[in-house]
């Protein structure tokens, strides 16, 4: 196990992976409970357009993806405030990003191999620049989430009461969507565009099956996320797999085991 940590690329993959596992787990719990599970998927497809645009115009792709994703997040909020249904707003941006990405990919012929790593994640993908961006933006995002944790908890449970008690629900909602947009882009190098949403949703869903308190749900989701990254990256290293696939399959396996365990022991009370 330790030998794989000798390599710089593996160290970077582990550092980035653990950080995004924490981010995705915390955001994921809020998204799942707010019935916004597909937001991550939508934003990921939008950032695909950003990646393609970055590669096409010679801009650092993660940065252009970040810009695309965050702007789309704001756009989705705007459409929602103009009485477009939330899921329709996501679908509109989703297709826009994807179609733009596909057009740019077909206009150029050079970067198809590289694109594969963006779609499914790659163990070699996290460059020195990437890790700096992921650490800086990722830690800032995590801090923002922890700062507003209790307000987000309140509004996730009961938005009307939260609003009535003076919590700026609309602004925090917008913040959550923008933080999701950022998280999706940061996760892309490790889990890939197509698998980001599972990485957001599955740790939270497993934790929701076994936890009774909100605090433990967040904690358990974070632990599951980190464990899946460590397992997935190790498997990817030894068997030469796309990292996103290895991580998400680990998660799906975990989800199935927990579900089966609950099913087989119906009187099992959830632990706190």
């Amino acid at each position: 196990m330790l030998e794989l940590l000798q390599y710089g690329f593996m160290q970077r993959a582990f550092i980035a992976g653990i950080l995004i596992a924490l981010l995705c787990a915390v955001i994921g719990v809020f998204l799942v409970l707010r019935r916004m599970s597909l937001l991550g998927d939508g934003l990921a497809h939008i950032s695909f357009g950003g990646i393609a645009a970055g590669m096409f115009f010679g801009v650092y792709p993660l940065l252009s993806a970040l810009a695309f994703s965050v702007l789309a997040a704001i756009g989705i909020q705007k459409l929602k405030s103009m009485k477009v249904y939330g899921d329709a707003a996501i679908a509109i941006f989703f297709s826009f990003g994807l179609s733009m990405g596909v057009v740019l990919v077909s206009l150029s012929h050079g970067f198809k191999a590289d694109l594969f790593s963006y779609l499914f994640g790659s163990i070699l993908a996290v460059s020195g620049t990437d890790i700096l961006l992921i650490l800086a933006v990722g830690i800032a995002t995590l801090v923002a989430l922890l700062l507003f944790y209790k307000e987000l908890f309140y509004m996730t449970f009961d938005e009307d009461s939260a609003r009535a008690s003076g919590i700026p629900v609309e602004r925090l909602n917008a913040m959550l969507v923008v933080l999701t947009a950022i998280t999706v882009v940061l996760s892309m190098r490790i889990v890939g565009i197509l698998l980001v949403s599972s990485f957001l949703v599955i740790p939270a869903s497993i934790a929701l099956l076994i936890c009774r308190s909100f605090r433990n749900t967040i904690g358990v989701a974070a632990l599951i996320g980190v464990a899946s990254v460590i397992t997935g990256l190790t498997l990817a290293y030894y068997f030469d797999l796309a990292t996103g696939g290895a991580i998400v399959l680990t998660l799906v396996g975990g989800f199935a085991v927990v579900l089966l365990y609950k099913k087989l022991s119906p009187r099992l009370t959830p632990r706190t």
């Binding site: 209790k150 307000e151 009307d160 003076g166 009774r212």
Partner: protein, 259 residues
């Protein structure tokens, strides 16, 4: 004269062209226990939402704790138990203690952690509501009446001076309702809390309150500490309207209220 906590002056509000509240003028004083009654769709919840600044009046002015409501910032002084509070996601992972501690969140301030003083206040609120023993239970595992108390505890945790409850006993069984009213009377008498209770159940409400606001788009305000007159009742339940409580049997109004 007691301090005025809420003052409505000629307040009107409509949804589109449909009037919901018309020219409401009344005031609530410290220590009052006000029942807001009226049939479904009469504008009871609209009045509550106006009181909480969730809706802005089309006309007229609302003062709360002596301040214009638009400039009022100390919402921590107001506790609120919404209609359908117990209508939350029953699978939501939150313990009784976690839900009650939401009440301290506005007081702590944005981006601040709850302090040990906050947690002590939550504990006191749970004790007052009589559910301290349930603190670590998942809220979805409790009965309707117990969940109701959790939401009262959440409102009490803010240590409010005014507590507004919107149809709090819908879906709660009879015995739990009686205990619930006993709790409200105690909060009013022992803790000096000013209470506003919205209900369509005039029977239980009028037994407990000292003032009654009858709402049927128009609002009439009655001091019922000395009993309730037929005229008072007719304001909210005009002739021809059946007097049917939603969950249980109560005696006819003439038997119960008119002395």
């Amino acid at each position: 004269m007691a301090e005025k906590i809420v003052e409505f002056e000629n307040v009107s509000f409509g949804y589109g062209r449909q009037p919901a509240v018309e020219k409401a003028t009344f005031s609530i004083e410290r220590g009052d226990f006000v029942g807001v009654i009226g049939p479904n769709g009469s504008g009871k919840t609209t009045i509550v939402k106006l009181m909480l600044n969730l809706l802005k009046p089309d006309e007229g002015s609302i003062m709360i704790f002596g301040k214009g409501i638009a400039d009022f910032r100390e919402w921590r002084r107001v506790g609120y138990v919404p209609q359908k509070a117990t209508n939350f996601d029953q699978n939501f992972p939150a313990t009784v203690f976690e839900v009650a501690s939401m009440g301290r969140i506005p007081k702590a301030g944005l981006a601040r952690r709850l302090s040990s003083a906050d947690y002590a206040a939550v504990e006191r609120a749970l004790k007052t509501a009589g559910i301290l023993n349930l603190r670590d239970s998942r809220i979805g595992d409790l009965s309707g009446g117990q969940q109701q108390r959790v939401f009262i505890a959440r409102a009490l945790a803010t240590e409010p001076e005014l507590l507004i409850l919107d149809e709090p006993t819908v879906g709660v069984d009879m015995e739990a309702q009686h205990n619930f009213y006993a709790l409200l009377r105690r909060l009013n008498k022992e803790f000096g809390l000013t209470l506003v209770l919205v209900s369509h159940d005039i029977g239980l409400v009028s037994k407990n309150v000292n003032k009654l606001a009858c709402v049927n788009i128009a609002v009439t305000f009655h001091d019922v500490s000395k009993g309730l007159s037929t005229a008072d009742l007719h304001c909210a339940y005009p002739a021809g309207m059946a007097f049917v409580p939603h969950h249980h049997h109560i005696p006819t109004p003439s038997a119960r209220f008119i002395r």
